[in-house]
């Protein structure tokens, strides 16, 4: 039987003899692999980027929104039947064991005026614990004090952008500004948080919830955010919240969303994204496979008389099969490695050219694509190789 070393030598010689064809075959696979690696690394990059944007608020958050949700996110209030979510509710929630902070939230837009300058910005009605819960840092002064939630003083804290717009380099501390017509005293400014998922948290002013309710003429808060202790049982806390709401409202008329749920939903959406992007690359891999199939088919046809000679010299069918399969395997393997290198380099290059575009090398998708490339290469190689092995030696010898 043919020795392995000679077997590989025969294949390598055949590959070298048909350099252009071998190159094209490898190119087919390489392009496919490079596409998969590149696209999935962009997909993974975006995935990780979005998740990190979310998790910067910590993972021990629970959001409570008025109305029962049919699916998470879209709350459908039963008309007129639900009780408003109030600051009192938030105060009650604070007493649940293991709850660290509770923030009743209201959001709206208003005209903000200071020293003749004016700007329309987002107004957030929040509680004193807001910086802790959402990991904001105070850059000057302090955040809203822990006043009586139902009668807080008219204090305001400025977001980074808004402070710059209204005061420039001057210190706003102790200055009075007008928000939606009412007078507030600036007691602090926040460090820049940048854009978080498209929301500019810097172009905003933060005031006590109770005052924002009056400003926007509301009797209920939009959301209550709750931070629980690290390591506490989330299930227990959710249960306690439900019990408390039922006790206070007479029925369960709010929707509770844990950060974990949010992350899971987000994760699954992002997985679909990565997968879709990977599938795109997969298509190019498939196209590469068709290319290999075509080229190998031509190779077998061109080398028919050679196959006939091997058979006349006593080669068994299985040896012919192995020779052509080996060729396909080596070419697709090499093509895979080249594609991998190009894909990884391309990812790095992309990162250099577009630093904003997050890319992340995914070992899973990369190994998957290499395995896929070899499988595609083998499948594309098997058909022509089987054809070669099945050739009648006399017919093969007569081919020229």
């Amino acid at each position: 039987m043919l020795k392995l070393r000679d077997f590989i030598r025969l294949i390598v010689m055949a590959i070298f003899c048909h350099r252009l064809r071998a190159f094209l075959t490898m190119l087919c696979i390489a392009i496919g692999i490079a596409a998969v690696v590149l696209l999935t690394s962009i997909g993974e990059g975006i995935h990780r980027f979005v998740l990190s944007e979310f998790t910067q608020f910590g993972t021990n958050l629970i959001g409570i929104n008025p109305g029962r949700a049919t699916t998470v996110g879209a709350s459908v209030g039963v008309f007129g039947a639900e009780r408003p979510l109030t600051i009192d509710d938030a105060e009650a929630l604070k007493r649940i064991a293991n709850v660290e902070a509770v923030i009743p939230m209201v959001q709206g837009n208003a005209e903000i005026k200071a020293f003749g300058k004016s700007r329309r910005s987002t107004v957030y009605g929040v509680g004193a614990e807001f910086p802790t819960v959402f990991t904001f840092n105070v850059s000057a002064g302090r955040f809203l004090p822990d006043d009586d939630p139902l009668a807080p003083r008219a204090y305001a804290v400025l977001g980074y952008t808004l402070k710059n717009e209204l005061f420039g380099t001057k210190s706003p501390l102790g200055q009075y500004i007008r928000i939606g017509g009412s007078r507030y005293r600036v007691i602090g400014t926040l460090e820049s948080k940048g854009q978080v998922l498209g929301f500019d948290l810097d172009d905003a002013v933060y005031i006590p919830t109770q005052r924002s309710l009056a400003m926007f003429n509301r009797d209920s808060v939009m959301e209550i955010d709750l931070l629980y202790k690290e390591g506490a049982n989330q299930q227990q806390i959710v249960g306690a919240i439900e019990k408390l709401i039922i006790a206070r409202h007479g029925k369960m008329d709010v929707t509770i969303t844990t950060q974990q749920q949010m992350l899971e939903i987000l994760g699954s959406i992002l997985n679909v994204l990565t997968f879709a992007v990977g599938a795109l690359g997969g298509i190019s891999l498939l196209v590469g496979g068709v290319g290999i199939l075509t080229i190998t088919t031509i190779a077998v046809r061109e080398r028919t008389s050679e196959i006939g000679l091997y058979r006349a010299l006593g080669a068994r069918r299985i040896q012919i099969l192995a020779l052509f399969l080996g060729e396909a395997a080596i070419l697709s393997g090499l093509g895979g490695v080249i594609g991998l290198a190009v894909g990884l380099l391309g990812g790095q290059l992309l990162q250099l050219i577009f630093p904003a575009l997050p890319t992340h090398f995914s070992l899973f998708f990369t190994s998957l694509s290499v395995i896929l490339a070899i499988i595609i290469g083998l499948i594309a190689g098997v058909l022509p190789a089987m054809h070669a092995a099945q050739l009648d030696p006399v017919t093969a010898l007569r081919a020229e």
Partner: protein
């Protein structure tokens, strides 16, 4: 050694059946020198292919070295080709990307012979055919006569019992043709059976035994 009985080989072309071999009965002993002649299309190549186990007869029995061949599997037939039969073709069938020596080594490589033994034997055979100085040349650097000598070296390096040559001089000038025939006759003198298919009466007459074929039948056999 070779015994054909009632060998029939039919080809189906469309709805037509071509009887390339009809009721062939032929016995060839070890060491014989036989020429097969006849008009084009008379079945000479087909007969040679059947004898060389490249082709299966449609019916009849073929015994080679006391062994019934027609029932053997494809792999068993490949093994017999490897060890007992040497083919020589009109168009040499050398692999263009291999050197002369590598071409000669090919049957041993397929048989799994160790590289050192392979090289030794290939060089020995090339030397006996007087083309050792061309061992490193590729086929396109050799003349027709030299290429056919390399092909003969390849066919005989496994020391087969029979050499089957299909028009071995058909693609050569008269001088190279004679030389090739002389080499084949010398190998025959060393004990290998030699069966030559040829158009050339001069070549055919040199054989010790002459077979004539017309329309798939043997019309004359010494």
């Amino acid at each position: 050694m070779i015994e054909l009985q009632a060998i029939q080989r039919d080809f189906n072309v469309g709805d037509q059946t071509i009887h390339a071999l009809q009721q062939i009965n032929l016995t060839i002993s070890q060491g014989e020198y036989v020429s097969i002649m006849g008009p084009s299309g008379s079945g000479k190549s087909t007969l040679l292919n059947v004898i060389g186990l490249l082709d299966r007869p449609s019916s009849g029995t073929y015994t080679l070295d006391q062994a019934e061949i027609t029932a053997l599997s494809d792999d068993e037939r490949a093994d017999i080709r490897q060890h007992k039969i040497g083919f020589i073709f009109q168009f040499f069938q050398l692999l263009p990307r291999l050197t002369a020596q590598e071409n000669v080594e090919l049957p041993m490589l397929l048989a799994g012979t160790a590289p050192f033994v392979r090289q030794q034997r290939a060089r020995k055979v090339l030397q006996s055919l007087d083309i050792l100085d061309r061992a490193g040349h590729r086929p396109d650097q050799l003349s027709g006569g030299q290429q056919q000598r390399v092909a003969i070296a390849r066919a005989t390096v496994m020391q087969p019992k029979v050499i089957l040559a299909d028009e071995p001089t058909g693609n050569l000038d008269r001088h190279s043709g004679r030389e090739v025939i002389r080499i084949l006759e010398r190998l025959n003198g060393e004990g290998m059976s030699l069966i030559v298919v040829t158009h050339d009466p001069e070549v055919g007459q040199r054989a010790k035994r002459h077979i004539r074929m017309i329309d798939g039948k043997i019309t004359h056999s010494d």
